[in-house]
Point group: C2
C-alpha cells in the first residue's frame, strides 16, 4: 500500500492508509496503548487495543522504524483531529540503541549542547533541532532565488588554496600532494575574478576559520552565502541588492517553514560610521563598533525608524580588508557596510577596489596574489558584494543562543566528530 | 543613464542607450572603427566615426572596461541586427595587462589547457568557457528544483572529518587545532544520518580526493550533487527519483542556456550486471565493467532502446562500498547501480544497509565509525541515494574532452593556484 505522510491523514478520513516513521513515544495504558509515529511531516497517533498488536508494541523501543496500516478516524481530542485505529504494525528496523541518551519526545531537548553534539544523529531528530535546519534550507533557497531573479550566476570555487594571504593567522594548513596548501577562509578573491566573467555571481559553500575561539558564535566551518556584482555606482547599489536578498530569504523562510520573520523595510535605514559612534555615545576616534555600540544603534533604528535592520556604512579603512574601496570624499572612511539585525552584525559587504594600480598601491607583496591581481590587469568594472554567515543568520532569526543549534554537525575548537 | 544589456538593444531601436562591458575586439578601418563590447548578455557592435572618439578608442587595450552611450540603429549586417552609432565612450577601468597571453575574440581558445588555467581570470571570459560554467549553474539549479519538488531538504555537512575510514588511501590530511583530521571525500555518512531527520535530503558541495591521477577525468576537488532518501522498497525507487532528477537537470540546462540536451526517457532501460557482461562480451566472472564494456552497453542501449542513458544494476558486492545493500535473492550481487550516459558512467548509487546489526557484520572496527553507526542504533528506514559529479556531468553534456573545461579553477595533482 502506498505510504502517506502524517500531514495527509486528514484527507483520508475513514479510509485505510499506511504511514511509516519512527516510534516517537508510547503510552501503555490499561485498556489501550497509544503510539506516536514521527515522520518528515509530523506525528500520527496510533490507537492500539488488539492484544496481539499491543504485545508487539510493548516490545518496540523508541526510534524503531515501523509501518502502520490502519483506519483514519476523527477524534477531536487527537493532536491533529484524526487518529489511526485498528492498526496492523510492521517493524521495518528495530532500534537497538536503548536506552536513549536523552528523551526525544519532550517539547525541548534537556540534554546539554555537548551531549546533543555527541549524539547528533539522535538529537537532530528532535523537532526543534530539525526546524532550525529547515529554516537554514529555506533561507538558502531564498538567497539563491532572489539572486537568480537579478541574473546572478552560481559559481563553485576552490576550497583548497595555495597561499594563506587573505588573513594568514586563521587558516587550516594541509598537505597537498606533498606541498603546503590551505583551506579557503572565504571565496572573496574568486568571486571577484568571476565578476570579470558573469558580472554577477553567487556561491553557497563552506568556509574554514582556524580561529581558536571557543564561543557560542564561532564555528571552524560554516556556510557562507556570498554574492558579488559588477557595474555598481558604489556600495549603495550592493546594499540595495542585499536588502532584496534578505527580504527574499525571510519570505522564503516564512513560506516554507511558517517561522515568524521580521519585516524587511524596502529601504533599510542607514547611518554612517561617524554618526553611528555619536548615536552609540562612543568617542569619535573609536576605530570599530563594540557589541554595546551595535546594540545602541539597533535600539536607535527601532526607535527612530521602526526597523529591526539598520545599515552602518563608511567603516574606517584601517579596519577593513585591503581590497576595500575608500570613500571618495574622505579616504579615511570606506565604501563598506555592515547590516545589523536587532543590534548584531548580520552581513558584511562593500565596494571593492577595481583598478590594478590601486591594488599595487595597497598590496605589499603582489607575488603570492598574482592569480588574483591578474583579473585587474585585464580590466574589471567597479564592483562590490557581501557575505552572509548562514548559521548566524539562522540563529538570529530563530533566537537560538548558540550558533551550533543552527548547524547539523558543527566543527569547533574541540570537535571534529561526528 | 540606466545601463542596459546587449541583449536588450533590439527593444530600444532609435533610442539613446548606455551599455557597459569589456572591449572584446577593435577593428580600426580607414574611415570607421568598430568596437565590439562584451557584457554578460553577449556583444554590442559600436560604430565609431567621430575623430575624437576614434582617437580615444585607438588607445584602449582589449579588456578595458568602457561605458558607451549611443544610438541604437538597425543594421541587418550587424551581428544582432542592430548596432550602436554616434557613441560617446567613457573608460571605466583600463586594462594594463597587454599584450594578452592569448586572444579572446577568436571563436575558440587556441591556448593550451595549461596556459588557460594559468590565466584563468582571462580564459574564463571566453564565451565557450563561460558557457560551460553556465551549464554547470543550470544543471545544479535543475538538480535542486527536481528534489525540492519531491520534498527533499537541503543540508550542509562537514568537510573536515576526524577519521579517514570511508576509503583511507585517497584523503587529504590537515592539522586541525593540533590534531590530525581529513577532508571529506563525500558526504555519504552524513547524508545517511540525515535520512533519520528529514527522510529525504540533498547536498551540493565540494568533495576532495587525493588520488594521484593526472588524467582528463580527475580533479582533487569537485562538486558533488548528493541525494539520499528513506522508506524505499529497494534501489529501484532511487533509480526512479534519479531519472526525474536527470530529466530536470537537462531541462533546466536547455531552458536557461539553450544548450542541446539528450532526451531522458521516462523509463531509462536497465540491465543487470550479469547480463551487461554478456552484452559486452566479457567473461562472466569479471568483477567490474571496463571502459570498453561500458561503451558496448551504451551502444546496445542506443541500438535496442534508442536511449543515450542506461542503468546497470546489481554490481558485485565485492566491488561496492561496505554500506551497500546486497541483492536479497543472491547476496553476491548488490542493490546498487550505475547510470551510464553514452557509454560512460555518469552517476553511482544504490540502496544502503539500514540495520545496525548488518553494519556490525561488515565493519571490522566500529570504533572510528561510532558517530555514523549510532544513527542505525536509533532506527533507520530502508534508504538509498546517489551522487552526481557536477563537472563530469557538464563535460559529458557539452562534449568537453577535459573535465577541467567544466571547472572555473580546477585543483589537480599539479595545480593549487589560481
Amino acid at each position: 500500500m502506498q505510504r502517506i505522510l502524517s500531514t495527509e491523514l486528514h484527507a483520508h478520513e475513514k479510509q485505510t492508509v499506511t504511514v511509516a516513521g519512527w516510534v516517537h513515544r508510547r503510552r501503555l495504558l490499561k485498556s489501550v496503548a497509544f503510539v506516536i509515529v514521527r515522520d518528515a511531516g509530523g506525528f500520527s497517533q496510533v490507537v492500539v487495543t488488539e492484544p496481539g498488536v499491543r504485545a508487539l508494541v510493548e516490545t518496540l523501543p523508541e526510534e524503531t522504524v515501523v509501518e502502520v496500516t490502519a483506519t483514519v478516524t476523527a477524534n477531536a481530542a487527537a493532536p491533529s483531529g484524526v487518529e489511526l485505529t485498528d492498526p496492523s504494525v510492521r517493524v521495518s528496523s528495530r532500534a537497538p540503541g536503548v536506552p536513549l541518551p536523552f528523551e526525544l519526545h519532550r517539547p525541548t531537548l534537556s540534554a546539554t549542547m555537548a551531549t546533543q553534539l555527541d549524539h547528533a544523529a539522535l538529537a537532530l531528530r528532535h523537532p526543534s533541532r530539525a526546524a532550525a535546519l529547515r529554516v537554514a534550507a529555506a533561507a538558502t533557497a531564498g538567497f539563491r532565488d532572489a539572486l537568480d531573479r537579478e541574473r546572478f550566476v552560481e559559481i563553485h570555487t576552490p576550497k583548497i588554496v595555495g597561499t594563506a594571504t587573505e588573513s594568514g593567522a586563521t587558516v587550516f594548513a594541509l598537505d597537498y600532494f606533498g606541498r603546503p596548501a590551505y583551506l579557503a577562509q572565504s571565496p572573496q578573491f574568486y568571486k571577484q575574478l568571476m565578476v570579470g566573467v558573469f558580472e554577477r555571481v553567487y556561491e553557497v559553500g563552506p568556509v574554514f576559520r582556524a580561529e581558536p575561539h571557543d564561543t557560542s558564535r564561532h564555528l571552524a566551518q560554516y556556510t557562507s552565502l556570498d554574492a558579488e556584482m559588477g557595474f555598481v555606482a558604489d556600495h549603495r547599489d550592493v546594499m540595495a541588492t542585499l536588502t532584496r536578498v534578505v527580504a527574499g530569504m525571510t519570505a522564503t523562510v516564512a513560506d516554507r517553514t511558517g517561522a515568524e520573520v521580521p519585516p524587511v523595510p524596502a529601504q533599510i535605514p542607514s547611518v554612517h560610521f561617524a554618526e553611528a559612534l555619536r548615536i552609540a555615545g562612543a568617542p569619535p576616534d573609536e576605530p570599530d563598533l563594540a557589541p554595546a555600540h551595535e546594540r545602541a544603534i539597533g535600539d536607535w533604528a527601532r526607535r527612530e525608524h521602526g526597523s529591526d535592520f539598520v545599515f552602518v556604512t563608511g567603516y574606517p579603512m584601517a579596519k577593513r580588508p585591503f581590497y576595500t574601496h575608500p570613500q571618495p570624499s574622505d579616504p579615511r572612511w570606506s565604501n563598506s557596510f555592515d547590516l545589523l539585525f536587532r543590534g548584531q552584525e548580520l552581513v558584511t559587504g562593500g565596494q571593492r577596489l577595481h583598478r590594478y594600480e590601486d591594488y599595487l598601491a595597497v598590496v605589499p607583496d603582489p607575488e603570492p596574489l598574482a592569480g588574483y591581481l591578474e583579473a585587474f590587469r585585464y580590466g574589471m568594472p567597479p564592483h562590490g558584494g557581501f557575505a552572509i554567515g548562514l548559521e548566524r543568520f539562522v540563529a538570529r532569526l530563530t533566537g537560538a543562543a548558540n550558533v551550533r543549534e543552527a548547524t547539523a554537525f558543527p566543527r569547533d575548537l574541540h570537535r571534529v566528530t561526528p
